[in-house]
Symmetry: none
Subunit: 224 residues, 4 copies
DNA sequence: CATGAATGAGAGTTCATTCAT
DNA sequence: GATGAATGAACTCTCATTCAT
């Protein structure tokens, strides 16, 4: 039994080792330019070995995303279950997202690309299913946070799912965009921009915004 | 000279023809799964001919983005130059973005992927330069819109560039995310979500938001 | 039109060129040890070019067999349609088979291996269908020859299809076996053995065999 | 010594166990599609273990043939040594061949493929030697049977080795051909066809064939 | 200018074989 | 002796790109 377990642990460690290597190479060269041999070399393994742990390149790639989604879900569950006011929960949401980014910035970026149907189309149904499911679950959890806010009337009454989509999009958009700017300017400015973005978002969804005194309010133009 | 010109025009028309074909195929199959032969077939040309008009596959791909960025710039310039109140300008911004999306939804999505360093890295410096320049210019124009808002105190005082980054990210995030959901649910819900997103964003950046009467304001938690 | 035709002819010639090269290499190294690169080198083409003319290795391989079967069929049709006595037709059959062997000895051998389900299983349905159909047709034609013999009572009354199977098996068995002995002894003895085999076979199916005078007949033991 | 022996026996049993497994898998998937792991799994052993008993895949494969050849030899020796008339011996030959087929139909088929130079070329000289020797011996034994027939004038005077080659070829041809038809029609018709084939063969080699009364004899055309 | 056959480097993947445990 | 994870050479096939016509 002990042996069984140890083997299992070692197997898992190998998987991690490969994923770490893959992460590094994918991040450097992007998915399609990365070869399995690159990853093998980085992991100090032979190409064949990778296939003992991952069915193919796509699955290896997608596994990375899966881990992030799992991490995200765990963090979100915490936020939901803790006895916080809706305002605090929404504030925590920001921290969670930022932590998720810090957890694996490069893989997160890759994941947002994976979101594009381009890559999605070539995934094994099983893995695709897992990813879909986890994404949906995370979004649902976020929506739930907003729902409590709406119920307690501190958040304006909009479809909670729409709000969830919006934060998530805002987050992913910022991550990708700041990354692409970073490719130019070499500075990680995500934190600051995210702060401002959330500040605005939170003001925007609040039932009462804190007016800056002595100043005319911004009139919201009606949707065409 | 007349001949020169006509040749030039015809050359440009051919380029367009190819880009239209490329657009279609890229949209359908994604960048990496699309072969030059696919595009040639779609354009009813031979593979070799494509190379008379585009240095290579990457350049052809990137040219598509260039067109969108050019369109975006034109529209933004309009907004800036028209004699509108800052509020109206910001409202117009939303319309512009949505129009850009409608102009070429699929290419826009592709462009947001191009934003990822993955593709960016393999571009010719010339083209990369063009894209960078156009992007920067567009963002600067957006920032200028916010700046006027800040100057007239109808927009909260935050770095205008940050605000520009945020709308742009929000926009790109929504486009990509709604598209990936569409891959699942097959409905184009971008318009509605974008409306809500802008409503919130505009409330969020307004110096005075319209309070929903009789309700406690949402307290913004301070950035950690 | 002239151009169309010439292109067609050239395409066909290329196909032949590749098939000739393939034949040579398959014969030397056997199917599974032959790589596409081997064939390309032999044909003085690049590996990629082979795939412009044959969908994959299996199809290239099977095409070789197809040609032999076609040649066989042509020859058999001749035999059937010519105004010969059944005896002469059967005698011609032997010549046809021997000619088929001479036509492409090594490919014929390969074909008999292809007959084994091993290779058969991995063929495209279309090609498999073609091969099956041609084989069946050839066997049916042979059977027809025996049928006329049976009708004219010069051939013993056994199911013509069984007789066809038997000659065909005898032929293929001899070809493969003599070849494998040749691998040892380096002499092509097929002709002689085939002569004896046919002599015996013909005596065996004759309604009256020519007794060698003054000798006791061989008593055929009844099947158990 | 007892220990030595027991070890020897156990080793032999393991070999058998592996060969049985190999037989099964080869039969199902064909030689080249069978992996050593397939065999190991079937034998409920690890891949490495196979190499303790067989030098490599080819040798394992060839060992299977060796067993059949040994079985054949034993049966042939019986026929030769028993005090039977040449006619009976030849009749027995048929039974022996059919029994050999029944003994291991699929391996027999594989063996006939092995006969092709394709596989033969990649065999260790030792094993190749063994196979050659056993084949030759079996063929010689068959030839001897015919020789006695010729001496007693019940078999026409043809080189006994040629006769042996012919039966052997006829047999192998039938086995392979019927098998490939079986792949299509799913019926094992070897027995019946073999009966007819032998009947004809025996009539063909008899010094006097049993004429079917009142019918013109079939004139054997002279070899061209 | 346009063609499209040809190229050939390089990708992902498999699997016979080895060897530390 | 038995294991099975690891190896890495070698395979088939793809496709961006070129160039003779």
């Amino acid at each position: 039994m002990g042996i069984q377990e140890r083997k299992e642990r070692e197997r898992e460690r190998r998987r991690q080792q490969i994923m770490v290597a893959a992460k590094r190479v994918f991040s450097e060269k992007g998915f399609s330019k990365t070869t399995m041999e690159d990853i093998a070399r980085q992991a100090e393994l032979s190409p064949g070995t990778l296939y003992l742990y991952f069915k193919n390149k796509d699955e290896l790639y997608a596994s990375l995303s899966l881990r992030i989604l799992q991490y995200l879900q765990i963090r979100l569950d915490h936020v939901v279950s803790e006895p916080l006011s809706p305002e605090k929960k929404i504030a925590s949401l920001k921290d969670v997202l930022y932590d998720v980014y810090c957890f694996e910035p490069l893989i997160l970026i890759n994941m947002f690309h994976l979101q594009s149907s381009e890559t999605l189309k070539n995934l094994s149904p099983r893995l695709l299913g897992q990813i879909k499911q986890l994404s949906r679950k995370a979004l649902a959890t976020i929506a739930r946070i907003f729902e409590t806010g709406i119920r307690s009337k501190v958040v304006i009454d909009r479809p909670p799912f729409a709000l969830a989509d919006i934060v998530w999009s805002l987050f992913s958009g910022l991550v990708v965009w700041e990354n692409s700017k970073q490719f130019i300017s070499n500075k990680d400015r995500l934190k600051e921009t995210l702060e401002v973005a959330f500040e605005i978002f939170i003001r925007g969804i609040g039932t009462t915004a804190t007016p800056e005194p002595g100043i005319e309010p911004l009139k919201i133009s009606e949707p065409a």
